[in-house]
């Protein structure tokens, strides 16, 4: 790894000050993507600012409408916390399917969302669950947050502090893992709200997470195999695009079935 200066602070304002005072600085949360990227020389920051010890990024609470999760909350905490289990069980399940046990002890929800890996799990949950991404300067709706391949609406130096998820009436996440990495070859998250509002978000299939409108209509109707047509469907050595689309259709059917069986 390149040489860099490591900074740790319990104060979010101080973390931001260190960021603005230094050239080529990066925020570090769990490090499960950033550190491997640095080992490969893909990113070579001069300063790393550790966010994991800032108390306000660790909250986990609920209100009538929302489940509120601090950005530095680890996957394992989301997977096992009774509040998540009771408010949005599919989210606890999703977190339990990320990486492996050791990775879940380090990786964080905020880090995952800020990275926006096209095959990561959390973006699907955030988009389906109408997440409000609370940062140090504003609130960004999930619909505006994810802007494509590894990119988000976050500005330079902007820090996610909390993720507010709208509690659904019912929801389900079904994922088909890429066998070696455990990332989603495809993952489908369905969230059902009052007044027949349905949101279906898909990860792993295209250049970034997206809402699948045909599936949302299909959920309310009787059709079980919605069309999926996009020009950015991933095709790689793990799966050609037609296979990914087919898997997404199968996962949608399974997730929809889970929700309907659960009524």
């Amino acid at each position: 790894m390149n040489t860099f200066q490591f900074h740790s602070t319990k104060n979010i304002q101080l973390a931001k000050d260190i960021f603005s005072a230094n050239e080529n600085a990066k925020f570090l949360s769990g490090g499960m993507t950033l550190l491997p990227s640095m080992k490969h020389g893909l990113i070579q920051p001069n300063h790393l600012i550790d966010l994991s010890k800032i108390p306000e990024l660790q909250v986990l609470e609920e209100s009538n409408e929302f489940l509120i999760i601090g950005a530095a909350t680890k996957h394992d905490t989301v997977a096992t916390h009774p509040l998540v289990e009771s408010a949005i069980p599919s989210l606890a399940y999703l977190a339990s399917q990320i990486g492996d046990p050791q990775v879940r002890m380090r990786g964080t929800i905020g880090g995952s969302l800020a990275n926006n890996d096209p095959a990561a799990d959390y973006p699907a949950a955030a988009l389906a669950l109408k997440a409000q991404i609370v940062t140090d300067r504003r609130v960004i709706a999930a619909d505006e947050f994810f802007t494509g391949f590894y990119s988000t609406a976050l500005e330079e130096g902007e820090v996610i502090s909390q993720i507010k998820l709208s509690k659904p009436i019912k929801s389900a996440y079904v994922k088909f893992k890429q066998a070696a990495s455990g990332y989603a070859l495809a993952g489908v998250f369905i969230a059902l709200y009052a007044n027949q509002e349905v949101r279906v978000a898909v990860t792993g299939v295209a250049s970034g997470v997206f809402r699948w409108e045909e599936a949302e209509q299909a959920f309310l109707g009787s059709q079980s195999k919605p069309d999926l047509q996009r020009d950015d469907v991933i095709s790689d050595l793990h799966a050609p695009s037609a296979y990914r689309i087919n898997i997404a259709q199968v996962l949608f059917k399974k997730a929809a079935q889970q929700i309907k069986n659960n009524s």
């Binding site: 790894m1 040489t3 080992k39 046990p101 050791q102 990775v103 002890m105």
Partner: protein
């Protein structure tokens, strides 16, 4: 910076870009923790950090500042730890390279699930790869270790 390693407090001079595994192996000379893939996949470098299993190849030493680390060397007292004993008796290893990581993950797994089901064992060891593919005996070893720990409590 300060680190508690196998119960002993150490004051260490580390460079900011050093990994926890580099401090454990190169500075502290605790070479039981193995560096297998260096890419967070194989789990050979697993140690307990504040009592949870983590991969020491993907943590900066500075991120571990002030924490308490337990490595494979810290398990045995005058006798082998029950998990070590079980891996030995059940032949839960072939070449042995993955074993320290397997054992540390098992110690954590059994703290969480004292009577694990087969699925909990497989899920609990999903972050540890045995390239000799000796998984059948590894699972037996975990079951046996669970029994040993339960019996010792009675």
């Amino acid at each position: 910076m300060q680190l508690t390693i196998n119960g002993q407090i150490k004051d260490l001079a580390v460079q900011d870009n050093m990994l926890l595994i580099e401090v454990i192996r190169d500075q502290l000379q605790l070479t039981g923790t193995h560096n297998g893939c260096d890419t967070t996949q194989c789990g050979c470098c697993t140690v307990l950090m504040d009592q949870v299993a983590v991969k020491s190849c993907t943590i900066l030493a500075r991120q571990a500042e002030g924490s308490s680390i337990q490595t494979i060397e810290g398990l045995a007292g005058s006798q082998l730890h029950p998990v070590q004993e079980a891996f030995s008796q059940e032949h839960g290893l072939q070449c042995g390279y993955c074993t320290p990581g397997m054992i540390m993950s098992t110690v954590y797994l059994l703290q969480r699930y004292p009577n694990p089901t087969d699925d909990q064992i497989k899920e609990g060891l999903a972050g540890n790869i045995c390239r000799c593919t000796g998984y059948v005996n590894i699972i037996k070893a975990v079951q046996s270790a669970a029994k040993k720990i339960q019996e010792a409590k009675v």
